[in-house]
Amino acid sequence: MDLSSLDKILSEYKNKKGALVTVLQKVQSEFGWVPPETIEPISKALKVFNSEVYGVLTFYSQFYLKPRGRYCIQVCLGTACYVKRSEDNLRKIKDELNIEVCETTEDMKFSLDAVRCLGACGLAPVLSINHDIYGSVKPKLIKEILNKYE
């Protein structure tokens, strides 16, 4: 995998204390995920242990150590959405895409996550795909929503 853009990120933060999360965010926005082979260079550049890098990566659910699909589906399972049966939506998506939560379709098109509250409870049940928000979603609408994405 081409990691040449990593050097640019690292040169900006080399030897900076407390920059680990920022660097990981930048790496993730650059590659769409955090490739495992970046852990060692990050650890060297920031002078932190590689186990610490891994620890931070696995602590925050926002970081992904596996490649993500082009479209990231987030199904809200927060209280409001939950009582509005958002689990049914989730099940439907799983069936449609044949993946589980935290997984990505083989064609790298969709990744699926279950999240707690997207801050749009008035529209419950809610799901988002990349930056698009869908409110009052019902299982029968799922197929149509997914079909919008090429």
Partner: protein, 812 residues
């Protein structure tokens, strides 16, 4: 310091500011249970077992992280406290398997101990288990994380104490666990298998594989590690006359609670079935077992007949960097007094002497100047030619701690990307063999930018003007051309080193492998002298001696030109002193070095060689030449703990006791003389080297009567001023660093406090000479390869990990 009074369980107790409730309670003799606390680690308050009640507010406080404050009223055992502790421990137990009956932690399990103290029997919580595969793929550490209680001691020990950081917490909440990067098995991480995590683990999550199910330790005997020159103190834990495990000896030691993989897990060679257990005599090309009487008689007769027929100079002896001072002292005495030959050398043929002779030229004394402990408290460290984390892990650890804990600057001069550069501020990646040029470049900057210590240079050194003129041509730009190190880096390093309050230099074997070790040492000495970084605490030059008692072998005069204590053979006063003590004439002519002995053997001038604890076929360059030379001898004796390539060629092989089976002393890299102690009886018929030599000498007609190695040390103290104040009684209290000239002398932590041996430190110009032919860089892979590998190869764990690490290295 401010005294703070608090009420603890109704009584008023005084503590000092900054103390935690736990510390004050412990000081006052009040017990508070803990699981995540360890005095060596920063407190984190993770386990909540140490909760106490603030009587004024009724709050429960974690005593390990709460500092005392004036007027505090604390109850450590109220019903509320006990109830809370019980809940905490019950929750831990709810997630802990009931495998106590087969858990190797046994009665040492802290969780079980605290649970029983709190009266916990049946757990009413629902049991939720975490299932993890038991990790057993590496040879040393077994990890069963289903038993982990997340106290974090392993993580903190690995990061805070060892500065290795192979593990950290990974994941979150119920799934949290200590893990390596990417959760790989330990052997695929940067784990160095120092074993500290196992030592700290309060439960059975981490256990030593080597000592698993070997039962309760009956006795722990304090001794010194037999591998590298750091001289770590450790306990040999014995049961049924067998060393079943090793643990660090913290008090009065250089290593504290740390050991490296060799010290902690390299002990199983002691009980190896391959050990030599009976004297062997070669008859018709085949070794046959014999009695001591027969073997020693043959040796005595053959040595005597060679002496009579060809003269004393036809005999040579080779001492050992593994054996004790007493063994080495007796070997040279046996040769000088009993056989009348100065052909005596130690097993170190190329490594250390050039460097030390360089230091001697500059300072008047060729040895590491300061103490290992001081490294942690220095401001600038210049590490040259030394892969310290590999060759001397405990010194490497101190360097890393200096940088990470005390913000020291670290500059590494090394042609290779060694591990320690991760924490270095600047890696001066020089071309192989250009160290002298680089050092001259540093000196050039120090002098021409005016950073040298004028007062020190004027009052305590000589030769400044000459050096100043000589150094002109070594401008940073010129040096950059030779070394490949950026001129700007050279300037920065020179300025930092010169301006530091305390700066140390650590040099290792790598700095002397191109034949210019002496020049490098002189160059480094110039640098230290110019900047006044010598003769005070936290400064100086360290030479990391590769082997446990190589320093001692030199100290004991196992050299062809020096009597013990670096007393010259050609100094009549010294010689007379020895002659009086030994009651015999000491031969005056300088003997042959090991190398010369081999040449002489090939020429038929040396007829008999006596090798103690050294596999010279492997340790000396040109294996075939060594074999040929040894084959051309009339008589070869090898005294060792294992049959090895050299012993195969011998006429008589004598089984020696290992370090665990004898008393004695080792002298480490910072001149520290430390006791090793007999933990078990010698295997089979093996005997301590000193015992064998004394018996043989007596048989040959020069009686040596010593009841114990302690008596040998008394003789050494009489003859060697540097060791004058050393006695086994005093060494009970811990090591002493020479010079220690008399019984009241406390030993010398750092040298030249009151000036140099010859009044002034000498500034000696040195030149960079383009290496003849191509310089080769020989990477140090010392952590797992030690000496010729006689011990490592016989340690199952170490030998298997050597294999793994080679595979990983090749894989890279």
């Amino acid at each position: 310091m401010d005294e703070i009074a608090i009420t603890l369980n109704g009584a008023t107790v005084n503590g000092s500011a900054g103390m935690t409730i736990l510390e004050l309670a412990q000081k006052s003799g009040i017990y508070i249970p803990t699981l995540c606390h360890d005095p060596h680690l920063k407190p984190v308050g993770a386990c909540r077992v140490c909760l106490v009640e603030d009587e004024k507010t009724g709050f429960l406080l974690a005593s390990c992280v709460t500092p005392i404050s004036s007027g505090m009223k604390i109850n450590t055992a109220s019903e509320k406290v006990l109830e809370a502790r019980r809940t905490v421990v019950e929750l831990l137990l709810a997630g802990h398997p009931d495998s106590c009956i087969i858990c190797d932690k046994g009665n040492h399990c802290q969780l079980r101990k605290i649970a029983s103290e709190l009266g916990i029997g049946h757990i009413e919580f629902d049991r939720i288990r975490r299932f993890y595969q038991i990790e057993t793929t590496n040879p040393f550490i077994e990890r069963d994380l289903s038993k982990c209680i997340m106290c974090g001691k392993c993580v903190r020990g690995c990061q805070e104490i060892e500065e290795i950081g192979a593990i950290d917490y990974a994941h979150r909440g119920f799934r949290a666990k200590p893990a390596t990067a990417l959760d790989l098995p330990l052997e695929q991480s940067n784990c160095e298998f120092c074993g500290l995590c196992v030592f700290l683990c309060p439960v059975g999550a981490l256990t030593d594989k080597l000592s698993k199910y070997t039962g309760e330790v009956k006795e722990s005997i304090r001794t010194v590690c037999p591998y590298c020159g750091v001289g770590c103190s450790m306990y040999l834990n014995v049961r049924d006359k067998e060393v079943i495990s090793v643990s660090p000896a913290e008090e009065r030691s250089v290593n504290g609670i740390s050991l490296c993989v060799k010290g902690r897990y390299g002990y199983d060679f002691i009980n190896s079935s391959e050990r030599l257990q009976t004297p062997l005599i070669k008859k018709n090309g085949v070794f046959t077992e014999s009695t001591w009487e027969e073997a020693l008689r043959i040796i005595a007769d053959r040595l005597k007949s060679i002496k009579e027929n060809y003269g004393s100079p036809a005999l040579g002896g080779l001492g050992s960097y593994r054996c004790t001072n007493e063994d080495n002292y007796l070997l040279q005495k046996f040769f000088r007094a009993a056989l009348g030959s100065n052909n005596i050398d130690n097993s170190d043929m190329v490594t250390m002497l050039p460097f030390l002779s360089g230091l001697e030229a500059s300072f008047g004394m060729g040895v590491t100047t300061n103490s290992i402990e001081e490294i942690e408290n220095t401001d600038v460290i210049l590490a040259i030619g030394s892969d310290i984390t590999e060759s001397h892990p405990i010194i490497g650890q101190k360097v890393k701690r200096a940088v990470k804990v005390n913000d020291a600057l670290l500059f590494v001069v090394n042609p290779a990307d060694i591990k320690i550069i991760r924490v270095a501020d600047i890696h001066l990646k020089n071309q192989v063999g250009t160290e002298t040029a680089l050092i001259n470049g540093l000196i050039n900057v120090v002098i021409h930018e005016g950073f040298y210590n004028r007062e020190f240079v004027n009052t305590r050194t000589e030769g400044f003007d000459k050096l100043k003129d000589h150094i002109v041509k070594y401008s940073p730009e010129y040096v950059e051309g030779i070394t490949g190190v950026l001129a700007e880096d050279i300037r920065r390093v020179a300025r930092s080193y010169a301006c530091a309050e305390r700066a140390s230099i650590i040099a290792g074997q790598g700095s002397i492998q191109n034949g210019d070790g002496k020049e490098i040492a002189i160059g480094l000495a110039n640098l230290a002298l110019l900047t006044g970084n010598i003769g005070k605490e936290g400064c100086g030059i360290f030479y990391t001696v590769p082997h446990n008692n190589l320093q001692g072998a030199y100290d004991m005069g196992v050299m062809p030109d020096y009597l013990p204590g670096y007393q010259r053979l050609n100094d009549p006063n010294s010689k007379e002193k020895f002659e009086r003590e030994w009651g015999i004439k000491v031969p005056g002519a300088t003997g042959l070095t090991a190398k010369e002995m081999l040449h002489a053997a090939k020429e038929g001038k040396i007829r008999g060689i006596y090798v103690v604890g050294n596999n010279i076929v492997l340790s000396y360059p040109d294996k075939n030449y060594t074999i040929e030379a040894l084959k051309s001898l009339d008589f070869l004796v090898v005294q060792d703990i294992f049959m090895n390539e050299t012993a195969e060629l011998a006429d008589v092989v004598l089984p020696a006791a290992s370090f665990a089976e004898k008393d004695g002393t080792f002298t480490n890299t910072d001149r520290r003389i430390q006791r090793i102690r007999k933990a078990i009886d010698p295997l089979g018929k093996a005997k301590a080297d000193w015992e064998i030599l004394a018996e043989l000498s007596t048989m040959i007609g020069y009686p040596m009567k010593y009841e114990s190695p302690g008596h040998i040390m008394e003789e050494i103290a009489r003859l060697v001023t540097l060791y004058g104040g050393i006695s086994y009684d005093r060494l009970e209290e811990g090591g002493l660093q020479w010079p220690c000239p008399h019984k009241e002398h406390p030993g010398t932590e750092f040298l030249f406090k009151d000036g140099f041996e010859k009044r002034h430190g000498k500034l000696i110009p040195i030149d960079y000479i383009t290496p003849a032919g191509s310089s080769t860089f020989i990477p140090e892979v010392m952590l797992l390869n030690s000496g010729t590998g006689t011990m490592v190869r016989m340690s199952h764990g170490l030998s298997s990990i050597v294999h793994i690490s080679n595979e990983i290295k090749v894989g890279k």
